[in-house]
């Protein structure tokens, strides 16, 4: 399986989330994860105002073939949920680093993050 291009400006987690720095920070799942899942048909995400904890499960991503839990790469408060992605989860497959983002969080602490290179090394095996 060939790995799709990884944007170099993002952070990654071993659980296949990506994180874009900012205030708030944005995160979603990587193209590697989206490809492994197949067509995403349902997203269960926390609500605006919910507290999330780095490394803890904050949602579920369901495809016809399988289901995966979504881990938060950061600790903080959810300030925005991608309702367009909830309405049409196919954007997670079509544009995982763009329109397929999942949550925006006011970050108080970050978890264990990887560079694109480190993440690529971890998924190559």
């Amino acid at each position: 399986m060939t790995s799709p291009e990884l944007p170099a400006d993002l952070h990654y987690t071993a659980e296949h989330e990506w994180l874009r720095d900012g205030e708030p920070a944005t995160f979603g799942i990587t193209a590697v994860a989206a490809d492994a899942l197949g067509d995403v048909v349902y997203l269960e995400l926390p609500a605006v105002g919910d507290e999330v904890t780095a490394g803890a499960v904050v949602g579920e991503i369901e495809s016809t073939k399988s289901v995966s839990e979504l881990y938060s790469p950061v600790t903080g408060t959810v300030v925005e949920v991608n309702t367009a992605a909830v309405d049409d989860p196919s954007v997670v497959n079509a544009d995982p680093y763009g329109a397929g983002w999942l949550l925006k969080v006011d970050v108080t602490a970050t978890g264990s993050l990887l560079t694109a290179e480190e993440y690529a090394a971890g998924t190559a095996g």
Binding site: E17, D39, I61, E62, S63, T64, K65, S66, V67
Partner: protein
């Protein structure tokens, strides 16, 4: 299951193995190079490396429901049973009445143990007076072959001469499934039907139109022999084409070339699984296994306790005693369809609960489940206690620690318009 399913270590519901990995120890389909050229995602499946998907599970599923899909099923096991005693032997080895099957007919049947447990579910084609083609699941191919050989040895001297021959390695199987499948076959260049059982030779559109569901016909494509069967595992009209492994790539390419303008797309194991689930068709290892008899699975009709031999005596087929006892008693569990009322899908192995209440007792187990692409809501098959198996019964499924409401519905979930 809660907490152990994470992105990237997803378990494939069809293969039970991690997706995106292949090993060198698996067997390759004669169409392997075609799958690679099409950019298919290849996964280990029952000892083979087979395509999980080419582009999108949903697109492939939808193509089969609305136009047509092309499947490589070369991993299936093909076993030929021939000889003067073939029909009488299969009557003793399998639960069905295969000696009564008409020539060029097909039948869904099962191979059971003495205790009635299912070793495999099979489609058997009668290709001649004294010739049958037994098609087994890939994962059970060796088990079926060994059982047939053992049962043939046991029947020696009781029935006429029988030869059991494994043709799996030399045989490829390609399926064209969907409402446009007939159009694809009619348009296939070089397809010629052999004479019908009555000696008639028909033109292609007429011959295909009269080829009934669960029947087969010898044919040729560009002079190469093909057994053309109107069978499938998707809930749609369709054809399955058995051919020599060496002829498979040319046949595959010809079908793709002629079918693409009609909406045909190559389709992988993922679509095959979601299609058969919507059609309420059991999958061995999920709805069927050695601890299950055909009766629990709602397939008691395939058990022919009434079959008799040439002398009019009841056939002492393997499993007869146990299955006769089961036939007369209520099963302890029943296979049902469950329709999800929420969004989260029940998956294989999840507990079925009497209700969504916190203290609700467990009343069954999910065997297959997924969000149905055609229905737009989760569906599942599950074994539940008989008292709770009536359509309309409201139950719940423990979906990773949280109960989701479901309703028992009649199978299949999806039935094509005819």
């Amino acid at each position: 299951m809660s907490g152990d399913v994470t992105v990237g270590t997803t378990t494939d519901a069809t293969t039970g193995t991690p997706t995106g990995t292949t090993t060198d120890s698996t067997r390759r389909s004669p169409l392997h190079d075609e799958h690679v050229a099409l950019g298919g995602t290849l996964v280990p499946f029952a000892g083979w490396t087979m395509p999980l998907r080419y582009t999108s599970d949903l697109a492939e599923h939808t193509a089969v429901r609305t136009a047509a899909g092309l499947f490589d099923l070369s991993h299936m096991g093909e076993i030929v049973v021939e000889g003067p005693g073939a029909g009488a032997f299969l009557d003793r080895a399998l639960v069905g009445a295969l000696s009564a099957l008409r020539v060029l007919g097909a039948r869904y049947t099962m191979l059971c143990r003495e205790d009635g447990g299912v070793l495999d579910d099979l489609v058997v084609y009668r290709t001649g007076d004294e010739a049958y083609l037994v098609v087994a699941n890939a994962a059970n191919h060796e088990v079926v072959l060994a059982a047939l050989r053992e049962r043939a040895a046991a029947a020696a001297g009781v029935v006429g001469e029988v030869r059991v021959e494994d043709r799996s390695a030399a045989t490829a199987l390609v399926a064209v499934q969907g409402p446009r499948a007939l159009d694809v076959l009619v348009a296939l260049p070089g397809l010629v039907l052999a004479a019908g059982p009555d000696g008639s030779v028909t033109d292609l559109p007429t011959g295909l139109a009269v080829l009934k569901y669960y029947a087969c016909l010898p044919a040729a494509v560009d002079g190469r022999p093909v057994l053309l069967a109107r069978t499938g595992y998707t809930g749609e009209d369709g054809f399955e084409l058995f051919c020599d492994a060496a002829d498979a790539p040319a046949l595959w390419r010809a079908l793709l070339a002629v079918g693409t303008p009609l909406g045909l797309v190559p389709a992988g194991l993922a679509a095959r699984d979601s299609l058969r689930l919507e059609a309420g068709m059991p999958l061995y290892g999920h709805e069927l296994d050695t601890t299950t008899t055909p009766f629990e699975a709602g397939l008691g009709r395939v058990v022919r306790l009434d079959k008799v031999d040439a002398a009019g005596e009841p056939v002492p087929f393997v499993g007869r005693e146990a299955l006769a006892a089961r036939a007369g008693s209520a099963p302890a569990r029943v296979l049902v369809g469950l329709e999800g009322l929420g969004r989260r899908a029940a998956r294989e192995g999840y507990p079925v609960l009497a209700s969504a209440a916190a203290d609700a007792p467990r009343v069954g187990t999910v065997t297959s489940g997924a969000p149905s692409p055609t229905l737009g809501r989760p569906v599942a098959m599950a074994y539940v206690t008989p008292e709770l198996s009536a359509p309309g019964t409201e139950l719940a499924v423990d979906v990773r620690g949280r109960p989701e409401p479901v309703r028992v519905v009649a199978l299949p979930f999806y039935r094509r318009a005819r």
